[in-house]
């Protein structure tokens, strides 16, 4: 067989294979672009249909949907007192208002309580998860006997593998009653319960990344510290932790991102009333839970529908920025730090 022909035939197949593989690989990029485009596209009508249909519909307070049982009256009372002139449209004033009441004669799309609600629950979750996860990671890397290490690994994998709806269910049935019995407050489902439940989902993330960061700390550092006479805890606290700080920082950021975007746990455990309150033990409605609870019932193309997409866009942007910062931090700082040593 002539050699040239053989070579040519094979190359054609190769080129096609490579092209096909490259095109399919393009899919992920296409999808993330489409997600950007289509989630934002549905929010556009809010900004481009500025004509206010001013009508004087009498204020009817319909019962707000809550997927917990409490806090309904409270919200209704609250919104009766505040008044807005824009009906049906999401003007800037309406959007930045403090009342979220999308289903009523005069719909109010104030997303402030939702944004603050998300921050509140995430903050509680992170305040719980960060110390526990970091200390536990330190335990496995510096103090734990071998059997404890062997036990922690599958435990974290199991915790990470529990579907969020299961954690939400557990929080709704068991945790809510348990915490209520301890503190004796009024509302069974509230920000605190949601935050604690959310921390169950955040702990595995922070733990894994922290442990990874700690294991990357060069052995020479810890050995030098021990050789100089520092004890185990001194080494852990003053050598290992500082050296692993960039990784831990990234872990915390990713944990916040996860807490912020998580839907099912907060939907089931926070009581879902859009109240503006500083109290930890009152119901709260987060951005993700609002989308999850209301999207199935809205009319496509209505203002309410578009506002829910706007909330989704905010969620998306926020987690996107957090993840980007976390990644930058891990890559660049870690590199710099350890290349110098």
């Amino acid at each position: 067989m002539p050699k040239n022909q053989l070579k040519k035939k094979f190359r054609l197949g190769e080129v096609i294979a490579e092209k096909v593989v490259t095109i399919v690989a393009f899919f992920s990029l296409a999808m993330i672009t489409l997600i950007f485009v289509f989630v934002f596209r549905e929010t556009l009508p809010i900004f481009f249909s500025g004509n206010a249909e001013v009508s004087s519909v009498p204020v009817q307070i319909e019962q707000q949907e809550t997927y917990g049982d409490e806090g309904i009256q409270e919200v209704a009372m609250q919104s009766k007192t505040s008044s807005h002139d824009n009906e049906g449209i999401a003007s800037f004033d309406n959007l930045t208002g403090t009342t979220w009441q999308p289903v009523s004669g005069t719909p109010k799309f104030g997303i402030v309580p939702l944004v603050l609600g998300s921050f509140k629950v995430s903050l509680i979750a992170v305040l719980f998860a960060v110390p526990i996860a970091i200390l536990a990671a330190l335990f496995t890397s510096s103090f734990a006997p071998k059997w404890a290490k062997e036990l922690m690994k599958p435990a974290i994998e199991i915790l990470a593998g529990i579907p969020s709806v299961v954690i939400g269910f557990f929080a709704l049935i068991v945790l809510a009653s348990l915490i209520q019995n301890i503190f004796g407050y009024q509302y069974r489902l509230n920000a605190f319960v949601g935050g604690v439940a959310l921390s169950f989902a955040v702990i595995p993330i922070i733990y894994s990344i922290t442990e990874d960061a700690i294991s990357r700390v060069p052995r020479s550092l810890t050995e030098a510290s021990l050789a100089l006479g520092a004890s185990k805890w001194e080494t852990a606290l003053y050598v290992v932790l500082p050296a692993a700080t960039p990784g831990i920082f990234a872990a915390v950021l990713l944990g916040i991102g996860r807490a912020f975007g998580e839907t099912m746990i907060v939907l089931m455990a926070t009581g879902n009333a859009a109240m503006l309150t500083a109290s930890l033990f009152e119901p709260v409605r987060t951005m993700s839970a609002t989308i999850g609870a209301e999207m199935a019932e809205v009319v496509f193309g209505e203002t309410h529908y578009n506002v829910l997409f706007l909330i989704g866009s905010i969620l998306f942007l926020f987690t996107f920025v957090l993840n980007a910062i976390a990644e930058l931090f891990v890559r660049q700082r870690m590199m710099k730090k350890f290349q110098g040593i």
Partner: protein, 300 residues
């Protein structure tokens, strides 16, 4: 010296306590659901339909719907994820802008909140693709694809689980020793032949791991299907891609928050939760086992 000892004891006990706390969370959550759920899980429960207005009977439609969801999802997601991983490890120049862009896209995709995938499924698949299909295929005004159904839910879930597949397959591909590839190439095989006949067969376990992990994730996520296809109750099993479906996770959510008598169906709720938990853990453990074998191969 004494001060040091006290500090030492307190630091090490604080860390041990935290570790213990995590173990306790796992034990309590799992224990509670296993104990409360196991009494209701019977053969009839697994194979029966809900009856008496969802207060009695079984959850077979939800199990079937979950199964269908993850199967359609895998058919779409696993090949795409595998090929993307092949591109990233075998073809791409690691420093080329295109490869880095794709890696960035995969990382970003992994960080998008699940509920945003749901919004995307609604905005893109249902409102854009589905509505266009209806306009093109059906007489005016009729609605078939432009509404939530199992196809759109599965596609949404496939995109959500794509990074899981990509990362697992990549790890598997990297575990194939360089010598094998070089031997194959040296014997005159082309690049594609080497990938097809040497690299892929040697990383089969890893690809399987990726698929299983994706299925486990897909079976557990509820947020993306809340408004892209899941239904509270359906009298019939779905028999077309444009039908809605019942799903285990959604069933748990809806039964525990929105059924008329939440207390009366507590047993069903716990049992459904246990079924979902057993399903995801059976999947996860087989994935962990496979991954363990892959890593052992890598060490050789």
């Amino acid at each position: 010296m004494i001060k040091k000892k006290i500090l030492n004891a307190s630091v090490s006990s604080a860390t041990a306590l935290s570790a213990f706390f995590i173990l306790a969370i796992v034990a309590v959550v799992m224990g509670n659901i296993i104990i409360e759920g196991s009494s209701t899980v019977t053969w009839e429960f697994l194979t029966g339909k809900p009856t008496e207005g969802m207060t009695q009977g079984g959850i077979f439609p939800a199990i079937f719907g979950t199964f269908l969801l993850v199967v359609i999802m895998s058919i779409i997601g696993v090949p795409i994820g595998t090929i993307t991983a092949i591109y990233l490890t075998e073809y791409a120049n690691q420093h080329s802008p295109f490869a880095r862009l794709i890696r960035f896209a995969v990382n970003t995709l992994a960080g998008v909140p699940a509920i945003v995938f749901g919004l995307f499924g609604l905005g893109f698949f249902i409102q854009f693709v589905g509505s266009s299909m209806d306009k093109a295929l059906l007489p005016a005004g009729e609605l078939r694809w432009g509404q939530p159904n199992i196809l759109w839910a599965s596609l949404t879930m496939a995109i959500l689980t794509l990074p899981v597949v990509i990362v697992s397959v990549e790890e598997a591909l990297k575990s194939v020793p360089r010598e094998l590839r070089e031997a194959s190439l040296a014997l005159g095989a082309t690049k594609f032949e080497t990938i097809w006949k040497i690299v892929l067969p040697n990383s089969l376990a890893g690809m399987l791991t990726g698929g299983i992990l994706a299925v486990s994730r897909g079976a557990g996520e509820v947020a993306p299907i809340l408004f892209t296809g899941a239904a509270y109750f359906l009298p019939k099993l779905p028999n077309s891609l444009s039908d809605q479906f019942m799903e285990l996770g959604y069933h748990i959510y809806i039964m525990s928050t929105q059924s008329p008598d939440v207390e009366a169906t507590r047993g069903i709720q716990y049992a459904t939760t246990l079924v979902l938990l057993v399903l995801t853990f059976a999947l996860n453990f087989s994935a962990i086992f496979l991954r363990y074998r892959v890593r052992k191969n890598m060490a050789h």
